[in-house]
Symmetry: C2
Subunit: 374 residues, 2 copies
């Protein structure tokens, strides 16, 4: 029996993907050279479609890696000599921090309890360690003065907590001297980031883009490149083939340093094109409408409640529910009706559910799921 | 028009791949969780099939990365504190060396002119820097005493030069105190390595395995793991999610640290199973028979000659030919007949051809190619 996947990644394939895979086979995409004009056209097309979808200006390159996890490493390796700063409120934002520790960076963090998120208003405009201005301190979160990179997670997939795009954009505007990197793994293209301000963001393709896993997408600007070049000059190790200067140099020619996942780059361009045909606003509104249905159900239905209390922090793309019944039993019951939902992450496995609300699932499919959950 | 790819990677898809892709779609492989029992069974199956095909003992793990290029970096990062040693005879063995330089290792190399290769007999059993024993020196190549890792390239894809498996195995046996890593990107499963001796080897799937690119396969033993753990303890940076301890820990459960290219891991298991059904000996003999045809043609036909003079160094899987006519014209002529061959690498683009002789192309297809080249 074929299942509909409401799991938070890998997830349901975008409805057009099966057809695009047949085209890829017919066009022999699995065999073409990554140094051919045909490949360069594919890269360029994917670049243009993502640029249109996410409103990415020409100051930013769009680069490909093996996974979003890899981008945690490459971002820190290329843009941090000593200190990074991390807003942590779940397992994935914590792993971004852990990566900095593994790379022997001096990593600062501010941590929230699971299920809670970050707002712009909580942050001081004054950095930690800088001379105090009385009107700007209080109990606000202060980004350390010497932090070179601020790492935010737009959508914490483990807890279903978002940091809203408007808050991310404002926080960057109030800390222009620092590089900002936003993990939008399970929210792109939902979150609308202002790339005139935000230096870097990244995602993987097996979430909202509904593709098989195996490709990370790194949006990154010239300021990050300049930083990486400066570190390289200072003899800091910034990696090898996937250092920012190496990726960027190849990107200028729509190539990659290594043989990349050509197949997925092709499919991503096709799906982004499909999404642009619908329009990103349409996708965002549709996501909001489906999310309202889901959260409304969770608030009213017996035996469920939304894990995230603050409605502004509730992720539109990954809804997390506390359950009275063991989560496993609910998952099995729904699976018997042809639908798969995710269990809670880590320790929350037994008493939470995660429901992905990616563009690949329709309102009708969401309604069918909620009927099954009743 | 559909083409037959004789390019050295990406290359012709293995004949069964299109069907396996349809199965992957039907089984929803693009959507399944990488933390599910279903994924663990897939990883285990691929591991078992590769283990059987390449005769890999239980001392070695089989790990997945984004590319073989990534494995150059991970191998050096995890197993070299200070010094590595590289046998260089073309662009890809040179890039392995360059990676060590990028990572600020003290990288030694011995370099051969393009088109030439390495034999066991050329190496001294005595290491450079160790007390001389008169009977063991002479003009032989001496591996530096303090080199922690010896990096060999079984098949130099840029020049079509192999180092024979028997020579690699003997060289390791005569230098047991050093870790050995063999790049078999464009030769696996042809080269028969003795994994009782060889510590690590790696390849990518878009060459002999005839799959779309986007997956590197790293075969690596417990000695390498112990070395990485020792470096980690000493506070050396060995990477993060793809450090050897992190990959190995996940591997024990047939999982990966990040969401991997599940699709390709599935396809690789299927193709390795198909190859095991034929038997690796059959594949090696078939490769030899096709290679004889190709080199025989290159020696006799007007306007062509094998680039590699020493027959023992001629790669069975990637044949390189010098051409009288501009390579581009030959490539165009053959393409008009539905076949694609590779140009020479880098500066040899205009006057060399590269013909891949991977398992995906049959003797019949090779004969058709040679007819077209006449």
């Amino acid at each position: 029996m074929s299942l509909t996947f409401f799991t938070p990644g890998p997830a349901e394939l975008y409805p057009t993907v099966a057809n695009h895979i047949q085209s890829a086979l017919a066009e022999q995409i699995g065999s073409i050279s990554h140094r051919s004009a045909q490949f360069r056209r594919i890269y360029q097309h994917t670049d243009e479609q993502l640029r249109a979808l996410l409103n990415v200006p020409s100051t930013h390159a769009i680069l490909f890696t093996g996974s979003a996890t890899e981008i945690w490493e490459r971002m820190l390796q290329n843009c941090v000599e000593f200190e990074s700063f991390h807003c942590v409120n779940g397992s994935f934002s914590r792993k971004f921090y852990d990566t900095a520790v593994d790379l022997k960076k001096f990593a600062h963090l501010v941590e929230k309890p699971l299920g809670q998120g970050f707002d712009y208003e909580e942050f001081s405009k004054v950095t930690e360690g800088s001379p105090k201005k009385a009107e700007e301190t209080g109990d606000k979160i202060r980004i350390p003065e010497y932090a070179e990179l601020v790492c935010l997670t737009a959508n914490e997939t483990s807890t279903g907590v978002q940091m809203r795009g408007v808050d991310i954009n404002k926080l960057k505007r109030s800390h222009r001297s620092k590089l900002f990197c936003v993990d939008m793994v399970s929210s792109a293209p939902y979150h609308s980031l202002d790339f005139e301000e935000v230096d870097s963001a990244f995602f993987s393709v097996q979430k909202s883009f509904g593709l098989p896993a195996g490709l990370g997408v790194w949006i990154v600007n010239e300021k990050c490149l300049a930083r990486a070049e400066q570190l390289k000059k200072q003899e800091t190790v910034i990696g090898s083939y996937h250092s920012l200067p190496s990726l960027w140099k190849n990107y200028k020619n729509f190539e990659t340093p290594e043989t990349p996942n050509v197949w997925n780059i092709y499919l991503l361009g096709k799906v982004a094109e499909d999404m642009n045909r619908l329009g990103v606003d349409h996708i965002r509104k549709d996501t909001d409408a489906k999310a309202r249905k889901i959260y409304d159900f969770l608030e009213k239905a017996d035996g469920f409640e939304p894990f995230v209390k603050n409605t502004e922090h509730r992720s539109p793309t990954v809804a997390v529910a506390n359950t009275k019944e063991p989560a496993k039993e609910i998952i099995e019951r729904v699976k018997a009706q042809g639908m798969l939902i995710g269990s809670g992450y880590g320790k929350a496995k037994d008493n939470q559910l995660r429901i992905a609300n990616f563009p690949a699932v329709s309102m009708e499919q969401v309604e069918r799921l909620l009927d099954a959950l009743k």
